[in-house]
Symmetry: C2
Subunit: 158 residues, 2 copies
């Protein structure tokens, strides 16, 4: 917040990190794009364009809806964000580097990235077994996360 780098001359603040990331993804690190990436980054559950718009507006930032949409699309296309298509709204979430697939909780919506190699190369087995070449980044398992499971043991049984 204090634009006085006297005492912090070299420290790569998250801010700069984000800009860097945008740059190496081939996107000019404009203020809006940085804001969007930052906002997405801190979330465990995928976020929709509208949610983001509201959040940014709530922080006093003037951003147009179309800008949010455009930023999100660009970031996704650049491989920085994962896309989740669920009911009607498209949602986005930060995308990690390694081979992994997604564990998405049906109750709280949180998405966890599960290393695709921790499970004995399950994906590779599919490749051989089913004559199918899986994309580890596009594998998704829905279910209920432990937290929600314990929280709602007595909920809607079925």
């Amino acid at each position: 917040m204090g634009p006085d780098p006297t005492t912090a001359p070299r420290e790569p603040r998250a801010d700069e990190d984000v800009a860097e990331r945008l740059r190496s993804a081939g996107l000019s690190p404009t203020q809006r794009r940085r804001r969007v990436l930052e906002a997405v980054e801190h979330r465990q559950r995928p976020v929709s364009a509208h949610e983001l718009y509201v959040e940014l507006a709530g922080q006093g930032h003037r951003v147009g809806m179309s800008t949010v949409y455009r930023a999100l699309s660009a970031l996704a296309e650049a491989g920085l964000l994962h896309v989740f298509a669920g009911d009607g709204e498209t949602r986005y979430r930060l995308c990690a580097a390694g081979r992994h697939y997604h564990l998405v909780c049906r109750r709280c919506g949180t998405v966890r990235e599960y290393p695709a190699d921790d499970d004995g190369a399950w994906l590779d087995r599919i490749a051989a077994d089913a004559d199918f070449q899986p994309d580890p980044r596009k594998a998704e398992v829905q279910g209920v996360c432990g937290t929600c499971l314990r929280a709602g043991q007595n909920g809607t049984a079925g």
Copy 2:
């Protein structure tokens, strides 16, 4: 149509099968619903409401779009159809009985159901390992099927 069962008393035609299925799903087997279920049933790749509408219209059947939407939703809710959320359009596909997950081909759109037990209970491993209770019916792996793979070996390398 012909309220005269004199000559066709006992034969379980596919038609009746479909009706039966609807009934046991708690849905009255109306003509439109039967048509929709039949039309979905014969497809390997999930179909959208609009595609179905066009197909039915092409067969000379008068069906309203909203009816198609309503039928599809009802069938999905009854567990007879799987829902695929991909880009913008919701798509539906017949849902098999056993534990399985989906192998969806990014190129041709075909979805194959892969028995969830053929792979050493991968899903169960997740449950224990990641503190997450997976829903076998809601697991989806995207990739490229063998057919498309072989057909387009020289295509867009990447």
